[in-house]
């Protein structure tokens, strides 16, 4: 690891991407992710890469499709309304088994919504978003350092499983500065070759085809089922989460990203008041850390999911707890961020029941 620097989350995502061997970025301006694109625009030419501002999010994601199919590590970034536009391309990328990294700096919705931090795109990210049976690897960092670290993980796993990976942040994480240190850069030429990529046959091999069209149903089902097998491996091997004070906790919070930091402060406050609270912070939203939540349901009395939405991840928490214990929800939305004190009060409300 190198010396720490002070950087915005959005910039750290861009720097980490380039250090992971990403030399192609296609984007379209939208608040609050603009620093990422600006950083790419400044740095890519210096590092022999491509930064291209596309005519639309739709075009940008299809450029990503082309570049990914051509074998490159490629990234795009946007915020909620732009990610909605990209869903067509994301479905095709998943259907063609292409790796790429998509950043969503989530803002309040629906529609144009607002530009303040939100987590209301959880369903879209983890339950499909576009058409068809497919999944994204979804990572939810909660600090600038973790944003940088997870970019590398996302590129590696996307390549391993040949599928798109998404990093979900929000305006708060994107705009805030924290010290961050980066890994040594990998040059694109040192990355493993992708033998399936379209880079010209050189008259030496059979042609490669990047495609998601299969008009015979049995062929399509077979391919989809092969993909499902990979998804099952991911569910087993790629779950990431962090636990905080859960061992003896009576009340376990479940929260991710920005809000998990705030909940962590709430846990501390509750502990100071003699209340045994803990936190499970999913780092991967898909695959979701269901197993640990289910295990903790044996010892905890209740769960309280806190989100910057009207309640999306809470559905997965309930599925994980599977009726063992009550699962409550507290959230603010539209760009409102739950305050530490309010979370403490909410927890006490349920504990006194």
């Amino acid at each position: 690891m190198e010396k720490k620097v002070l950087m915005k989350g959005n910039e750290a995502l861009a720097e980490a991407a380039m250090r992971s061997g990403c030399r192609h970025f296609f984007g379209y301006p939208i608040t609050p992710q603009t620093e990422l694109a600006a950083y790419m625009a400044k740095q890519m030419p210096k590092r022999g890469g491509t930064f291209l501002q596309a005519e639309s999010e739709v075009a940008a994601i299809n450029m990503v499709y082309g570049a990914a199919g051509a074998g490159a590590r490629v990234m795009t970034s946007s915020s909620s309304p732009g990610i909605s536009l990209k869903q067509e391309g994301i479905s095709y990328i998943a259907g063609a088994d292409l790796p790429c990294v998509i950043i969503n700096i989530v803002r309040g919705g629906p529609g144009l919504g607002g530009i303040q931090p939100a987590q209301s795109d959880y369903f879209q990210a983890t339950k499909g978003g576009g058409h068809g049976d497919y999944r994204l690897l979804v990572y939810a960092p909660s600090s600038v350092q973790e944003m940088a670290d997870l970019v590398g993980v996302a590129f590696d796993k996307a390549d391993t499983y040949r599928m798109p990976a998404m990093i979900m942040g929000d305006g708060m994480l994107g705009q805030m500065m924290e010290p961050v240190s980066f890994k040594e850069p990998i040059a694109p030429e040192d990355l493993p070759q992708k033998e399936w990529a379209t880079c010209g046959t050189g008259m030496k091999r059979k042609k490669n085809i990047i495609n998601s069209l299969y008009l015979t149903p049995d062929e399509l089902e077979e391919l989809n089922d092969a993909r499902l097998k990979r998804y099952e491996t991911i569910l087993k091997d790629e779950v990431l989460f962090e636990e905080y004070q859960t061992e003896d906790a009576e009340l376990i919070f479940v929260a991710y990203g920005t809000i998990a930091r705030i909940v962590m402060s709430s846990v501390n406050t509750l502990r100071e008041q003699g209340i045994k609270a803990g936190l499970i912070r999913p780092i991967t939203l898909w695959p979701f850390p269901s197993e640990i939540i289910n295990q903790r349901a044996d010892s905890a009395k209740m769960f309280l999911t806190v989100e910057m939405s009207q309640g999306q991840m809470v559905e997965d928490v309930r599925l994980a707890v599977n009726g063992k214990k009550p699962v409550y929800f507290y959230g603010r939305n539209g760009g409102m961020v739950p305050e530490q004190e309010a979370i403490v009060e909410e927890a006490k409300k349920y504990l006194q029941k």
């Binding site: 739709v58 075009a59 299809n62 082309g66 051509a70 074998g71 490629v74 046959t201 008259m203």
Partner: protein, 250 residues
């Protein structure tokens, strides 16, 4: 015995999905012949569209990608930016290129993206069963203009070659037809020139090919060729609309 006619090497030995009498087959073959003649099969990456040539990834021996409807120029952009030394081309119909993919087309040209587009204009949506295309003629009867395309309701057909040639990014744009042997030879020369334009790094090139759709026009193949000559050619005059290669040679 001397071989006087054969399948081009770049053309796969597969059955196409084109209807009998449709001129898509000719255009598909011309592209393969040019790839052979330029010795570029091994360096080419093609992009298939959505429409009648959706299966084009099966028709060529070079690497291929299938794009979403209208997005082929964006996909080609992605490929070309990764592999600038490859020959990257798209093969698109009129609905794909001039309706759902207009933005991608116009901006690829505006960026002078160094790719080549083979644009097949048959004035109708073929694959989906004969709906009005952005290039359908005024008065043309289609499934979605059963009383003929009316200016008051559906407006005017788009002349893509003329429109794109106004952009500074366009390097070579020509409109050709495949209705006769002389025109087929000219079409092939145009495709070759467009590919050469890309190899010379001159920027965006597009060849618009007037093509028939006997099935959806409700005509015999021969009648369809006549209809193309009598109705499409006046609306879509053949010729070179933009040529930066020759200009620089002068």
């Amino acid at each position: 015995m001397e071989t006087v006619f054969d399948r081009p090497h770049a053309l796969s030995d597969v059955v196409t999905n084109f209807c009998p009498g449709c001129t898509h087959g000719i255009i598909t073959r011309l592209v393969a012949e040019v790839l052979d003649e330029l010795g570029m099969e091994g360096k080419a990456v093609g992009v298939a569209p959505v429409g009648c040539s959706v299966m084009a990834y099966n028709f060529y021996e070079c690497d291929m990608q299938e794009a979403a409807h209208g997005r082929a120029p964006a996909v080609a952009t992605g490929i070309k930016r990764v592999h600038p030394e490859n020959l990257v081309f798209t093969y698109q119909g009129d609905g794909d290129l001039a309706a759902i993919g207009t933005a991608e087309t116009v901006h690829a040209a505006a960026r002078s993206e160094n790719i080549t587009i083979i644009f097949v204009n048959n004035a109708i949506y073929g694959m989906t069963g004969g709906q009005m295309a952005p290039t359908s003629l005024v008065g043309q009867v289609t499934q979605t203009t059963p009383y003929g395309r009316k200016v008051e309701d559906q407006g005017y057909p788009i002349r893509m070659s003329e429109m794109l040639s106004t952009l500074e990014g366009s390097a070579y744009i020509e409109r050709v037809a495949v209705d006769s042997v002389p025109n087929i030879r000219k079409a092939k020369a145009a495709i070759k020139k467009a590919f050469q334009c890309q190899l010379d790094k001159k920027g965006f090139s597009l060849v618009e090919v007037l093509s028939t759709c006997p099935t959806n026009w409700g005509k015999s193949p021969e009648e369809a060729l006549d209809w193309l000559r009598e109705n499409m050619m006046p609306q879509y005059p053949l010729g070179v609309y933009c040529d930066k290669l020759s200009k620089e040679g002068e």
